[in-house]
Amino acid sequence: MTLRFFSTAFRNLQRTVVGLALASSLSAWAQFRVEVSGVGLTQLPIAVATFRGDDAAPQKIAAIIRADLERSGQFRTIDSATSVIDEVARPEAATWRQKGADSLVTGSVTRLADGRYDVRFRLWDVVKPQGQDLGGQSFPVPQGDLRLAAHRISDIIYEKLTGEKGIFSTRLAYVTKAAQRYNLWVADSDGENAQTALTSPEPIISPAWSPNGAQLAYVSFESRKPVVYAHDVATGKRRLIANFRGSNSAPVWSPDGHTLAVTLSRDGGSQLYTIDANGGEPRRLIQSGSIDTEPVYSPDGKTIFFVSDRGGAPQVYRTTATGGNVDRVTFTGGYNISPAVSPDGRWLAYISRVNGAFKLHVMELATGTTNAITDTTADESPSFAPNGRLIVYATQQQGKEALMTSTLDGKIKARLGGQSGDIREPDWGPFQKP
């Protein structure tokens, strides 16, 4: 059963929340491991009631939705955990308005006779005097997809209220190291619900999602040297992409999925090549006497950003997809690496060494305006969410490796859950087909 949304545009709810207003919700943020810094944030106040049946369900649907919305940076959740309201009830709009909410989410999770669960929700505009039903939906899912159902609900709410696609039902890849075992994981966008794609006694680095989200390319050291594989996530089937003499590393897919750019040392030095995704002979992209590595395609596939020490220190450069003109992109600082381009092509995230600290920076490509957006000192491997609103990156907190998400302005950060032990090398997957 699908309850259809009204098509009413609902985008003018944005309010400016300043300073102390944030403090009241800090305990809720701590619970979700979300950090907020800075003032003048524009966030939508939303209440997510506890779903009827949440207490008995194996996954707490409302809590997952609240955490998703908080992490996005676009929402401020109003304390509502003690209210249980299902999607059939008509809520008292005035009550929620008084609590400061502009919107309210209600719902239920019910175990079906066949063992599946029916997750339903409804979204209310509680600014309207009597409250306006903005529609809802039903997701009959197996138990293993309960979190996915919650993330899909978050996506729908996010899109309905911000006008942009949500990324909560997308997937992350990351690597852990624990007890001398390396694991490549595929997890929900909040880092939870991780499943192992590969386990190895040797390091795994640089996972990169294919544009359709079906495959991961990565570098594995299982044969005592770096070799690039492509790995079908659903079947576990692996194939060699680059196993040439010397080191093979830094795989990245072209936006059409037909080509991979890689770094090979087969002809001496770390140099950029492109390889057909179905295999075959690598084509040299650029020839230099320097380190050229970490290629990444622009979203239109026409430009490749990469890191080179041709100027004496590592900086980000760009060239065409066929290795034409090379021009320098980063000019500030003596060590700029690991570029990532936002899906709209506007922003470049990269790691810059500042006074010995490695910090995530975001540059507006059109103007060159650059901001450091973290307080940490060992940031690595930034990757944009497919809607371009969040960046996931690896860092260290209190000497332990952690994965974080941040809004592009650095004001909302969340530490992702997931596996214990050392955790690193995140790559944010593409939008999933529903």
Binding site: F221, S270, S338
Partner: protein, 177 residues
């Protein structure tokens, strides 16, 4: 299976190597003169008995030459791939061993300390490995016998973030395969 055994063997060699590393010194290994088994007691009691047998392990053929060549690790300064003069002797010793047996295959494994990105460190480690390979080439070592590969910062020899640990991790290891 052969590949796994080889990997285990190499890993054992590496382990022997790194456990011998002391602060501020290059590792020295001396495995020569160790009998394979069974003769110790006879030798200890009143000299070598006439019935004593000295075993030869063909599986270790040439190992003495490798061991005699001495340390197998070249250390580098931060962000540098320049071979310092004090390591030239190590490279020369191993070049002689490699040139003496054209069937010998060697990997030069470049490593970095923990600072900075994984991929850029992989490239930097590659540069270190290739610097050693090129130095061997200048000494007449056949290029096809030597493969330069990098582990970047993924396989530190020493844990810890103090400068002494970091210095031990910025290295190229000569690994016989």
């Amino acid at each position: 299976m052969r590949r796994i055994l080889l990997a285990v063997g190499v890993a054992a060699l590496m382990a022997g190597c790194s456990s011998a590393v002391k602060l501020d010194s290059v590792p020295v290994e001396d495995k020569s003169g160790t009998p394979i088994s069974g003769t110790d007691g006879q030798n200890a009691a009143g000299g070598a008995a006439k019935s004593g047998v000295t075993g030869v392990d063909l599986g270790k053929s040439g190992q003495d030459a490798i061991n005699a060549a001495g340390p197998r690790i070249v250390y580098f300064d931060y962000d540098s791939f320049v071979i310092k003069p004090e390591y030239q002797a190590i490279i020369e010793a191993h070049s002689r061993v490699i040139k003496a047996d054209k069937t010998r295959k060697v990997a030069i494994e470049g490593h970095t300390d923990e600072r900075g990105g994984r991929e850029y460190n992989l490239a930097l480690g590659q540069k270190r490995a290739e610097a050693v390979r090129k130095a061997m080439g200048l000494l007449g070592v056949t290029d096809s016998q030597v493969e330069a590969v990098s582990f970047g910062k993924e396989k530190p020899a020493a844990q810890g973030s103090d400068e002494a640990s970091l210095a031990k991790n910025r290295r190229a290891e000569i690994s016989y395969r």
